[in-house]
Amino acid sequence: MTSKRRTAVSLALACSLALTLTACGNSNDGNDSKGNASNGKTTNTADNTAANSQNNAASADPMAPYKDTVEYTTVRSISQDPKFPEGQSYEKNDWQDYVEKTLNVKGKMLWMAPSDGDQYAKKLSLDVASNHLPDIFYIEGQNAISMLNTLVDSELIEDLTPYYDKYASQKVKDRYSANPYAFTTSDFGGKRMALPYGMEKEQPMLVWVREDWRKKLNLPEPKTIDDIRKISMAFTTQDPDGNKKNDTLGLVAQSNSMYSPSFDLHTLDSIYWSENAFPATWEKNADGKVQYGGIQPEAKKALGILRDMYKEGSIDKEYGLKDGGKTTEDVSSGRAGMVFEAWYAPYYPLGNTINNDPHAEWKAYALLSEDGKLNVGSSPTPGGFVVVRKGFEHPELAIQLMNLSTEFADKSIPELKPVYEKYDKAVTVAVAKHAQYVDLSIADPAAIYNQQKKYDDILAGKADESILLENEKGGLDQIKAEMKTPLETVLAGNPDKDTLSAAISNHIGYLAYMNAMNVVTKNESNIVVTPNVYSGQTATMKTKWTDLQTLQKQAYLKIILGSESLDSFDKFVNDWKAKGGDQITQEIQAELDKHN
């Protein structure tokens, strides 16, 4: 008898274990509340609408605090080395405190992932697969568009249209309306399912060159691709750092993302673009029909150049093995002499080079096409989207947080002045400068252009500082500090650690504005944007696009690395068309015709 009972107990134990697990497995079912501590109870849409309308009635002011503390969960991508002031972090900082106090909310960060590589996007994808969504989150990275489409198709996110209309501050609305493309990717049949962010006026890629090396080797300033090739070769072979070791690289680029639909770090975009090739863009041809930039003859021509460059050694031998993290490492450690990046490069990661070796100098140049254009092929895809989980009781919170972030970025909240100063002093990396859980300031798309013009006017004595907005003053201060005592002078004077890091920070700001942004504004009339006319996902794309992208990437890589002839490009084009490319092109054309 006893033994029988024991068996029963053991069986029961095993069964109950199995059952609990099955039950856990089932929690995917419907709207899950487990992963979202803030709810406490399962919600349904009817309840939400009621709660919202109440709230709406109570507060018409977009910035008014909630009566009862609202809790929300979120996740975010972070910079690897944000350099926060003492005692602050992404999870605990003055900005977040201000947000929570002002709106009477309580945020909970479920997890964080580095913004380098696609780590954030991959981690988020896991959350989506298991339907454990945070209340408010961003979608970013290479799969942002397909992720947004999946979320909309699966009815996992809220339609933000009414909340945007009601809660977005005037400033935010104005800035969105300054950009004609703002909502092309995020509006679904009149519903505003997501709010895009990070949409600046087109930013050309610049050629960044280690100026100290270039001068040492007596090389001319780069104007054409040939100059770039020569400089890169010299950097690789002639020991520009003078340590008698063959340990320097010329042009470094990543191949994980070979050409960017948005702004990926250190791609070869400048070369493609200067040849009028836009390998990741759906462009319109002369007849107004849509065509894929990746299969055009211009792409073949650009590949021919890249292939020669790789062969002669003016592209890093290990090009095929590197991702953005690795090139960042090359640049930061001072091994690399040339890289393609937009005007903000001094903030990340070129500034690392200077931090590691204050005698390192970077300078930006523009690479124009033969007919004198400064081509840009990536606008207007947004950097990412903010979305709200379906069933979250306060979708408007996302918009309120956006309003606040925008004020933070504008430095227009007087109360926070000491915090700005604290962060400036800590030489915080730009992306963590106003860190809060949901950090999405909306900038005037042309803000950076306008700011540069103001700086130029002020420095030329044509205007005084009163024309500057609060958030534009810091940059000018850095420029003026650098002009008064340049980094060189500071270095000569055997400075202490704080003085040096302040001087480096000023120097970085000076580089970004007076060098890089000036190159951009000087070339403004030359800038030609080839916009991506379609960024949705058609039916065929859903199953075939991954393979077509792989096909393209492989074909390009083989040509550049020399394992296939340049003419294999034609075979690739045929393959691409046959394996669904043609059909996708037609579907996109149909889609575009529908809207016109």
Binding site: L17, N28, E155, K390, T546
Partner: protein, 301 residues
């Protein structure tokens, strides 16, 4: 029989020892099987597994009509089978050789040193390998000294990538795998060796006629067990060493599933590929088991 014996001796409590095993199996193998449903669905994370619409074999027809799937399967088989073969041969040879060492202290030392890599994660090893094998890494510096002009990009070469996968995997695991064989070797009756010695057998002959036959059962058992992982070419390892250049030879089922599933947000296709993998594994296990029972007389039941 067993049942009757147990009832007679009142040994039901031994069954309790099954509980952890069954629990583990339930947690990691049986419950997740429900997820396979996704392979037949147009999966919608919002509706979840239980409410997404079924689409029959649509996902599978896509998988089978797709060049990449076959390429990936080929890569997986080549890599996994090479790993299995070398992963068997090297530890056996190592165990046989170490068994001949008479100096206990040395034997212990070697054994400890070679099984340590087993405890390192691929993330760490991959980081070290990338540095060692890079254009100006140790290996290339050495080759240059020998007069090779161009550095070899080992991890970016479709010729070298698979041998590196296999080689590093064997290096990492052979010490650990040899433990079992060493244990089996100690079970061989020493009088056999003594008798062989009397008959004038050499060391090699003793290995050939006594040691090897003595561990055959263990070898067959482990070979059969290892077949269950025939399509596990090692996600951790490949994922950490991988780059776009070696996709034609290095992309395996697991990395493909990962790419399709998490980077392209196409869960149902990823599941279909995963199920396909399981089905192939299942067939291979049965075949291997039949072979083992025919040629080595090994049977579980």
């Amino acid at each position: 029989m067993l049942w009757k014996q147990m009832r007679q001796s009142g040994g039901y409590h031994y069954l309790l020892m099954l509980v952890p095993g069954i629990a583990l199996l339930a947690i990691f193998s049986i419950v997740p099987m429900f997820g396979l449903m996704m392979a037949f669905q147009d999966y919608n994370p919002g509706k979840g597994m239980w409410h997404s619409p079924f689409v029959g074999f649509r996902n599978f027809s896509y998988v089978f009509n797709n060049d990449t799937s076959w390429l990936v399967l080929k890569n997986t088989l080549i890599i996994a089978i090479s790993k299995m073969v070398f992963g068997m041969v090297v530890p056996i040879l190592f165990a046989l050789l170490l068994n001949e060492v008479r100096l206990m202290l040395f034997k212990r030392f070697v054994q400890t040193v070679v099984y340590l890599p087993h405890f390192l994660s691929w993330v760490i090893i991959a980081g070290i390998l990338k540095d060692i094998l890079s254009a100006n890494g140790l290996v290339n510096l050495f080759l240059m000294k020998l007069g090779v002009h161009d550095p070899v990009l080992f991890l970016g070469s479709n010729v070298w990538f698979r041998p590196i996968l296999v080689g590093t995997d064997v290096w990492k695991e052979f010490g650990f795998a040899a433990i079992v064989y060493l244990a089996a070797l100690t079970n061989i009756n020493p009088s056999l060796y003594e008798a062989a010695e009397m008959d004038g057998a050499t060391r090699l002959q003793k290995i050939r006629y006594i040691s090897l036959p003595g561990i055959t059962t263990t070898v067959v058992l482990l070979a059969t067990l290892s077949l269950q992982g025939v399509l596990n070419a090692g996600f951790d390892q490949v994922f950490n060493l991988y780059n776009p250049v070696v996709q034609p030879t290095g992309d395996i089922l697991d990395t493909y599933v990962y790419r399709v599933g998490f980077e392209q947000v196409n869960y149902e296709l990823a599941t279909a590929v995963g199920l396909f993998k399981s089905a192939v594994s299942f067939v291979l296990i049965i075949v291997a088991y039949k072979l083992a029972s025919r040629y080595a007389g090994y049977r579980i039941f």
